[in-house]
């Protein structure tokens, strides 16, 4: 495993036949230049960097959780944790037409895909796929949203990650993980939301399975008030 810093050029043998270039790497001509500091990863023609950061940089195809900040003309202005605002068109919602506009207010959150990240413009988001289907995207109602590091987010949605499965044995909850480091959870009671929030925050630096189970168990039995 190699660690790269921004500006480095990747010379790994496994990167020569890679067709998919992922997070933290940019293609400049023939060279693969690193844009973020992180550990090099490669897998079946894919290369990316595993970066520990808190600030999100938009990438096409990422599913993110966005906060509606204002309405401007035919667009909603959204906050996705980047330096600039992102936009979403009224028509990019399932079942939306020129007449039938989605009813979103300032402070609402939506789960959407980044589909346009042209440099020097605001990123554009969509809540529908190519077939105009929502497929789970759209407004998130109720629940609680909080922020963790991007690395932790990627770990949570990894199928081989045990955290959510272990938590599922104790809690009944709904979760949405955005690649921009935001997590939305919903549970029947506030107390459970608080406990889940606590477990997710604390599980970031836990790798052992036993440790994880004891953490979840501890949170499950712990009383919230006082």
């Amino acid at each position: 495993m190699a660690v790269y810093l921004p500006g480095d050029v990747i010379n790994e043998p496994s990167s020569s036949d890679s067709s998919i270039i992922g997070y933290g790497i940019n293609l400049r001509g023939e060279k693969k230049v690193v844009t973020q500091p992180g550990a090099f990863r490669s897998d079946e023609g894919k290369i990316w960097l595993s970066v520990h950061s808190k600030r999100y940089i938009p990438q096409e195809g990422d599913r993110v959780i966005a906060i509606v900040t204002s309405k401007t003309g035919d667009f909603f202005r959204l906050d996705i944790g980047t330096a600039e605002y992102a936009m979403i068109s009224f028509t990019n919602f399932e079942g939306a037409t020129k007449r039938n506009r989605p009813n979103l207010k300032t402070g609402d959150i939506i789960y959407a895909t980044v589909f346009d990240t042209t440099p020097r413009t605001e990123a554009e988001l969509t809540c529908v796929d190519d077939e105009k289907r929502a497929r789970g995207m759209g407004q998130l109602n109720g629940g609680y949203m909080f922020k963790v590091s991007l690395n932790h987010c990627r770990r949570l949605i990894n199928p081989s990650c045990e955290i959510l499965q272990t938590m599922g044995k104790f809690f009944k909850f709904e979760i949405t993980v955005g690649m921009n480091g935001r997590i939305w959870v919903n549970a029947p009671t506030t107390e459970e939301i608080i406990k889940i929030h606590d477990v997710i925050n604390k599980s970031e630096f836990i790798t052992g399975e036993d440790e994880l189970i004891s953490l979840v168990q501890h949170s499950y039995t712990r009383s919230v008030s006082g």
Partner: protein, 434 residues
């Protein structure tokens, strides 16, 4: 840059939780976060941490000319800078409304409450005075910013020592610390700030709110007071109409907090002085660096692993062996009966018996002296003892002086304190009658 806006769902959940007495950090509504206070190896520096809020303060002094209005008074200048590292919306050298509020309140609390004797800072009236500068830097923000900044500034001022000077007919001699021992500032009292969040138009109070909680609350009230139960400043952030009863309640909460934190500050300073007088090299801020060193995991490429932690030693545990750090946990939660309190009672009883024995012993050993002088002596003795009791009894909170081999603190609840005093005074009266 801007801060991410507060979403409706967050606000709803936080408010709902608060109204049912729950908080996201598992605290009660009237529970404070732990306070960590560290003084630096440099004289006059301190870092204060409350939860995630972190503030560093540094005090320096220089000789300047006084203003013509106050020719025999020193000057105290407070400088605040909000670092963008603390909150993305902050900018260097631009305070904004939040920063202005902070600096005005700090000036009000530290300078206008006259806790520092500015007259002793005068070297030559109308010509030379000491200009004391307090630099406050916000390193991390998570609510209760003023509490943290005030505590850091007060600790730094307590820790600070100005160079010694002597006056010659035509010039002033300034000594380095190797020639003549530096002089500490004359501090009359320590104002301690407490932020209290208000909910439901002031019907409910949320103590020590975090940044997110503060954003959801109706407003907050800041009370600065000292351990002598004097209110130094009162500030309300929003134009909420509060009843006298509500304000009184807030002040009462702030007073118990002030007593607790004053003890912590004086402990930290005393510990540091003890070490310095023993020519031990002070650890300074090196102990605040976390022992968690993040490295990327060495897992296979498919497994995106969280960064591993190098478990050298637990950070909390590491703190325990460091001198001049005091971890002060939830001063208000002392109310419940615990094993510690049972021990405390035993300790009090022991102390009381020691006092009585010792006083009695002295009285017996001095039978020749006349009645009047005897009484005088007794009075002095009892006064000394009372002072001693008062000193030790300030530490209402469970404070740990870390690094010392024996348990240093004497933990006494307030009620007992009064009882003790009564005991001693009644005993004293009895003596007088005899």
């Amino acid at each position: 840059m801007r801060v991410p806006p507060l979403t409706t769902c967050e606000k709803e959940v936080i408010l709902e939780a608060l109204k049912s007495g729950k908080r996201f950090d598992f605290r009660g509504l009237e529970e404070f976060r732990g306070v960590k206070l560290v003084v630096g190896s440099e004289i006059g520096t301190a870092i204060c941490t409350i939860g995630n809020t972190k503030v560093i303060a540094a005090v320096s002094a220089q000789i300047a000319e006084p203003s013509s209005m106050r020719p025999h008074k020193g000057v105290i200048i407070i400088d605040v800078d909000l670092s963008p590292m603390a909150n993305v919306s902050n900018e260097h050298d631009r305070l904004g409304s939040k920063g202005m509020e902070l600096i005005r309140l700090l000036e009000l609390i530290i300078r206008d409450s006259r806790c520092i004797d500015v007259e002793s800072l005068c070297i030559r009236a109308g010509k030379e005075i000491w200009k004391v500068r307090v630099d406050v830097r916000i390193l991390d923000e998570d609510g209760s910013l003023l509490d943290c900044a005030c505590l850091a500034a007060i600790t730094a001022l307590q820790h600070f020592k100005r160079p010694n000077v002597t006056l010659e007919p035509h010039h002033t001699l300034i000594y380095s610390e190797y020639e003549k021992a530096p002089v500490p500032l004359n501090i009359y009292h320590m104002p301690i700030c407490t932020t209290i969040g208000l909910l439901d138009k002031g019907q409910m109070v949320v103590i020590d709110p975090t940044e997110k909680e503060a954003a959801c609350l109706d407003g907050s009230i800041v009370v600065a007071c000292n351990k002598r139960r004097e209110v130094c400043a009162l500030h309300q952030s929003t134009n909420l109409v509060l009843s006298t009863k509500q304000i009184e309640r807030c002040v009462k909460l702030a007073m118990s907090r002030a007593e607790a934190l004053t003890a912590v500050v004086s402990d930290v300073i005393k510990q540091d002085q003890r070490e310095r007088s023993a020519f031990k090299r002070p650890d300074g801020f090196s102990i605040t660096t976390p022992s968690l060193i993040l490295t990327s995991g060495t897992a296979a490429a498919r497994q995106i692993n969280a960064p591993r932690i190098q478990h050298g030693r637990e950070p909390e545990e590491k703190m325990l062996y460091q001198p001049s750090v005091i971890v002060n946990e939830n001063p208000l939660s002392v109310g419940s009966v615990k094993q510690e309190e049972v021990d405390e009672d035993a300790l009090i009883a022991e102390q009381l018996s020691i006092i009585q024995n010792s006083v009695g012993g002295v009285a017996v050993s001095d039978p020749q002296s006349s009645g009047v002088s005897k009484r005088k002596k007794e009075k002095e003795m009892v006064d000394d003892l009372l002072d001693g009791i008062c000193d030790s009894e300030e530490e209402e909170v469970k404070t740990e002086i870390l690094g010392s081999s024996e348990p240093m603190e004497v933990v006494l609840p307030v009620v007992e304190q009064q009882k003790d005093e009564e005991d001693v005074t009644s005993w004293r009266k009895k003596k007088k009658k005899v």
